[in-house]
């Protein structure tokens, strides 16, 4: 391996994907998951909400939450059987910030930053930076530009627990 740095841990926002039993997929066509799975609900929401789609997750009780930047889209989300949550940043915007961070950090692993990604529940790109390590200036610049769409999180422990624990 490249170096023996302490691993930075990103939050594994593990979400219950609820059902999954039954519903044999058709092996010849493949509109992937069977109707009614959380994957299906979120995919349908993405299609309907378009630019205002901000991601989805399964909450602790197994219900699907769909995030949107458009308060007027709440009813559409409910019609899919999901719970709407209005947030500031769309999924496309967060994906764009994530890609910019990747491009800015380049291909070489950094000893300060090893993980970053879209945290749907937090509606932000979360970048884990090891305590005591300098934040790369190009990353700091992006974080300044992005406001609360990009959050730098200092981590001490090499292990980040699951949310809610």
């Amino acid at each position: 391996m490249h170096r023996a740095i302490v691993g930075l841990l990103a939050v594994a926002a593990m979400v219950a994907a609820g059902c999954g039993a039954g519903d044999q997929a058709d092996a010849t066509s493949d509109p992937a998951p069977a109707a009614g799975t959380p994957a299906d609900v979120v995919a349908a929401a993405e299609q309907r909400l378009g630019d205002s789609f901000a991601g989805g997750f399964v909450d602790r009780s197994g219900g699907v939450v769909v995030l949107t930047t458009d308060p007027a889209a709440a009813e559409q989300v409910r019609s899919l059987g999901a719970t709407p949550k209005v947030v500031e940043h769309s999924r496309a915007e967060l994906d764009d910030w994530q890609a910019r961070i990747g491009a800015a950090l380049g291909p070489e692993p950094s000893s300060a930053v090893t993980t970053w990604g879209v945290d749907v529940e937090r509606n932000a790109v979360v970048v884990h930076v090891l305590v005591g390590q300098p934040v790369p200036p190009q990353l700091q610049q992006i974080a300044d530009d992005a406001g609360d769409a990009v959050r730098l999180a200092e981590v001490q422990s090499p292990v980040v627990p699951l949310p809610g624990s």
Binding site: M1, H2, A12, G20, A21, P38, A39, V58, V118
Partner: protein
């Protein structure tokens, strides 16, 4: 055709053995969550894998992709919404829309008329990260270039999911490989201390198997560096001709493109 089956290789660590391409996917189960290692080669295969996982555990899951080749990463949709982990370069590859993966699938006999649009991983780990599944920690690690430049391996206790950095039952695949660096990358894997290694294709193996494969990779790398003729490389290679010539092409392209070709020749 043999039915797909689970093989338990450790406490809460399972391998799904697939008839298709002799693929091996993985599942690590903790007290609060599970991690799925690779998602197979198309959405229907991914759905079948998701159902198989649900027969093992009802816990929340996350996904990690070992690399961006089609047979490992095109079944992810069935697991959404969930965090999907990958190396940054794997993420970037999948973000290009799936044309490369489609070409690979077609080369392996797929008759699918249109590409599967890949799920783009949303969590990247460039070097290493550790996930806590609840009384079960798993390490995600990029050990260096090898089968591709974006391989991630997963360590769960004594078990290492090596992706296609290790192959059982077929020679290593060099199409997107870095043949001169691959041996050292496998050496790094051996240093992780796992006793069971799960290849991306084939049956779980022990460290002696991995050492032997590393030695074969190193022998081929040396031939690629030192031999003057392709015929000589093929004649002395531990691998078949097609595998060897693919590796040689990759090795010489890398050497030619390297900023330090002479130093590269001196290493290993």
């Amino acid at each position: 055709m043999t039915a797909d089956r689970w093989v338990e290789v450790g406490d809460g660590v399972l391998v799904r053995r697939h008839a298709e391409l002799d693929l091996s996917t993985g599942l690590v189960v903790g007290e609060r969550g599970a991690l799925v290692v690779d998602t197979r080669g198309d959405p229907a295969q991914g759905s079948a894998l998701a159902e198989a996982v649900r027969e093992v555990t009802a816990l929340p899951w996350a996904v990690v992709l070992t690399h961006a080749h089609f047979d490992h990463c095109l079944g992810t949709a069935a697991f959404l919404p969930t965090p999907v982990w990958a190396h940054p370069a794997c993420r970037d590859d999948l973000a290009r829309g799936g044309a490369a993966q489609h070409a690979e699938a077609v080369a392996h006999g797929s008759t699918r008329p249109v590409p599967v649009r890949p799920v783009v991983p949303d969590r990247v780990v460039a070097d290493r990260a550790e996930l806590d599944l609840g009384r079960r920690r798993v390490l995600l690690l990029h050990p260096g270039a090898g089968h591709t430049d974006a391989d991630l391996v997963v360590v769960a206790g004594d078990v290492l999911f090596a992706g296609d950095l290790v192959e059982q039952g077929a020679p290593p695949a060099f199409d997107d490989a870095f043949p001169l660096q691959w041996p050292a990358t496998v050496t790094a894997l051996l240093a992780l201390g796992a006793t069971t290694v799960v290849p991306g294709h084939g049956e779980p193996v022990d460290t002696a198997f991995v050492e032997a494969q590393r030695d074969a990779l190193a022998a081929l790398a040396a031939l690629c560096r030192d031999c003057d003729s392709a015929a000589e490389v093929v004649a002395r290679s531990p691998f078949d001709e097609v595998t060897t010539l693919t590796a040689l092409a990759r090795a010489t392209r890398r050497a030619a493109g390297s900023v330090l070709p002479t130093r590269q020749r001196g290493r290993l």
